[in-house]
């Protein structure tokens, strides 16, 4: 059996196994478990698409929260019915075409992704004129600007009040389906000639240029694809938590994503998946440090905010002592696994 065929079958089996597990949780899991799994899938989508820009292309972009915001608001405004929108926008009415539009969930997700992509395209010209620290601060700036605009444009976003009462459309099938789709598409892209060009830019931009690669084109491609999936994930997130407001999409969100891909290993899609899964699980597991601990005769009061201390400390430890993260730049692949198995069998 040739390797391609074997890998295809194994991939199919793995996805089938994943959906089997999901079906089990869907049927027998508690709401809490389903919620964590949904979070996990959305984080995976976000981390994998963020890693495409930061890890594969090697530029430090700090504004994915802007794309998530655009996606979340777009899709939320499309799924709410005109009557619901009229109820929500009490201070200033929603502007005309949006106030009468309504679309099914899947269309709204696509629209969120597309609008995020358009937004990314618009900001890409100032962003890619600079590199390094400047690029980081400019993208961070755009993230902040989007938040300020969300607060200011009351007739589109309902300002600081945000949008409430979204329908909880996001379920395990939507969130994990899109996560798997993102992983497949991003992996295909990374393994194509485009992906190799992006990695060449990461290693040495001047050398890549000498080889005939146009850095702007490649970076733009990665940026737009990343923005699309971030926008879709934003729509999923909005319909999972059903209430969105500008405070949800601050730099804090970007920081969490950055932590996932750094811990997982910058430049590895497998790493991004692992990092996101660990974050979703660890974030819940670490609630212990914030809740009171009862020792029978003495109670240690919980300290709110302790989780973030642990997380930021972890990020620094990883970046200083284990810069490669969990996976480095390696990927988990069937070929690699089979090779290991053969060695063990010997």
């Amino acid at each position: 059996m040739d390797k391609r065929k074997r890998n295809l079958i194994l991939n199919g089996l793995a996805v089938a196994a994943l959906f089997g597990v999901l079906l089990a949780f869907d049927q027998f899991g508690t709401n809490y478990q389903v919620r964590i799994l949904n979070n996990m899938a959305i984080f995976i989508t976000l981390a994998v698409s963020y890693n495409l820009v930061n890890g594969i292309c090697g530029i430090l972009h700090l504004g994915p929260n802007a794309f998530i915001t655009v996606g979340a608001y777009t899709s939320a405004l499309l799924t709410l019915s005109p009557a619901e929108k009229q109820m929500t926008f009490i201070i200033e009415p929603l502007i005309w075409p949006l106030s009468v539009m309504q679309a099914p969930f899947v269309v709204s997700l696509l629209a969120g992704g597309i609008l995020a992509t358009i937004f990314a395209f618009l900001i890409s010209f100032p962003v890619f004129r600079v590199r390094g620290d400047y690029l980081a601060i400019v993208t961070l700036g755009f993230g902040e600007v989007v938040r300020v605009l969300c607060n200011a444009f009351q007739s589109v976003t309902n300002g600081p009040l945000g949008l409430k009462g979204l329908h909880p459309h996001t379920n395990l099938w939507w969130s994990w389906g899109i996560a798997v789709l993102t992983i497949v598409l991003v992996t295909k892209l990374v393994n194509s000639s485009f992906g190799r060009a992006m990695k060449a830019i990461r290693e040495d931009e001047t050398a890549a240029r000498a080889m005939g690669i146009d850095p702007f084109k490649q970076l733009l491609l990665a940026f737009l694809i990343s923005a699309f999936f971030s926008g879709v994930a934003g729509g999923l997130l909005a319909h999972l938590i059903t209430t969105i407001s500008p405070t949800l999409f601050t730099f804090f969100l970007t920081f969490n994503l950055l932590m996932m891909i750094v811990v997982g290993g910058l430049g590895s899609t497998t790493g991004a998946v692992l990092g996101a899964a660990l974050f979703a699980w660890g974030g819940e597991a670490l609630r212990i440090v914030e809740s009171p601990i009862d020792l029978g005769f003495f109670t240690i009061p919980g300290i709110p905010g302790m989780r973030m201390v642990v997380f930021s400390f972890l990020l620094m430890i990883v970046i200083i002592f284990a810069r490669r993260g969990l996976m480095g730049r390696n990927e988990l692949s069937w070929d690699g696994l089979m090779g290991k198995l053969k060695v063990m069998a010997r």
Partner: protein, 297 residues
């Protein structure tokens, strides 16, 4: 518009601008030597404000003692920050250094949140600074007048250190070329430490005055002043100390005057600075007074 109101706004703008300038100098000094945006620089401002509060309330020190102590403590904190978060990464790719800086910033903010609580604390402003006097027919707080004066004195002191002492010469050398500086027998780690010490002390002075101006001290108070001061440093030309000061004053004046002249823009005030940053990077990436940045790889 009435000219006294305009004058009032200009005085406010200069006062705010001098605070940006103080913080911007620290950014520009560190960037000049390490080519690093010290994301945690803004949080040192918060640290200084808390240190000054606890000096005055917990230890009942007079402000004349508490303020200098807070400034000194923040300077030491700056050195510790460099030793813990940046020194292990001297030979690492720049992206790692930047991530470490972001991590350090979040760690400081959240440690403050956990240890000191998220409720904003009032800053016990000494009586001396609260007095209101009349200048050219405009009633202003003494603090608003003192702030640019203090900035000027500190700036002169800094310029003296940088251009008239051996340490300053070493700092200027290090911002040109690490290897050659090391070959000249200069202890680079010491020079970098001193850079962090001076930059952090200036940020501390800025932080204490910020806390007196807006007497609400909370763990995240340093974030926005920090970002804006960085933008001021870029506007003036990063790596150039006088540029940072000019950028700080321009940004402070611009923010206040735009809101004063076009009140409708008030809610976009925080976005304005980033807009300026994008314009500068598009049309004049070296800033107003900057020289082309030497790439130290």
């Amino acid at each position: 518009m009435d000219w006294t109101i305009l004058l009032q706004q200009i005085i406010n703008g200069i006062s705010l601008g001098s605070l940006y300038a103080l913080v911007a100098i620290g950014y520009t000094m560190v960037y000049g030597i390490l080519r690093l945006i010290n994301f945690a620089h803004g949080d040192l401002l918060m640290f200084a404000a808390y240190a000054a509060i606890y000096g005055m309330t917990l230890f009942a020190l007079p402000w004349t003692l508490s303020f200098p102590l807070a400034v000194l403590l923040t300077g030491v904190m700056g050195i510790l920050l460099d030793r813990a978060a940046y020194k292990p990464l001297r030979d690492a790719p720049r992206i790692s250094l930047l991530i470490s800086a972001i991590g350090a910033s979040f760690l400081l903010e959240n440690l403050a949140l956990v240890m000191l609580g998220g409720v904003p604390k009032g800053f016990p402003r000494p009586e001396v600074f609260g007095k209101v006097i009349e200048v050219l027919g405009v009633r202003v707080q003494v603090l608003t007048i003192y702030t640019p004066l203090v900035t000027l004195v500190l700036l002169l002191g800094l310029l003296f250190i940088i251009y008239r002492t051996k340490v300053g010469m070493a700092m200027r050398a290090a911002s040109r070329d690490f290897e050659t500086t090391r070959l000249m027998g200069i202890n680079l780690d010491r020079i970098i430490g001193i850079t962090f010490l001076l930059g952090s002390m200036l940020a501390a002075a800025g932080g204490i005055m910020w806390a007196m101006k807006y007497p609400q001290v909370n763990p995240f108070m340093g974030v926005f002043p920090g970002l804006k001061a960085f933008i001021a440093a870029v506007l003036g030309g990063i790596g150039n100390i006088l540029g940072a000061v000019v950028g700080g004053f321009l940004l402070g004046l611009g923010e206040i005057l735009i809101v004063a002249l076009v009140p409708g823009l008030a809610q976009y005030r925080d976005a304005l600075a980033f807009f300026v940053l994008i314009l500068v990077l598009l049309f004049r990436p070296t800033g107003l007074m900057g020289e082309p940045v030497i790439d130290k790889s």
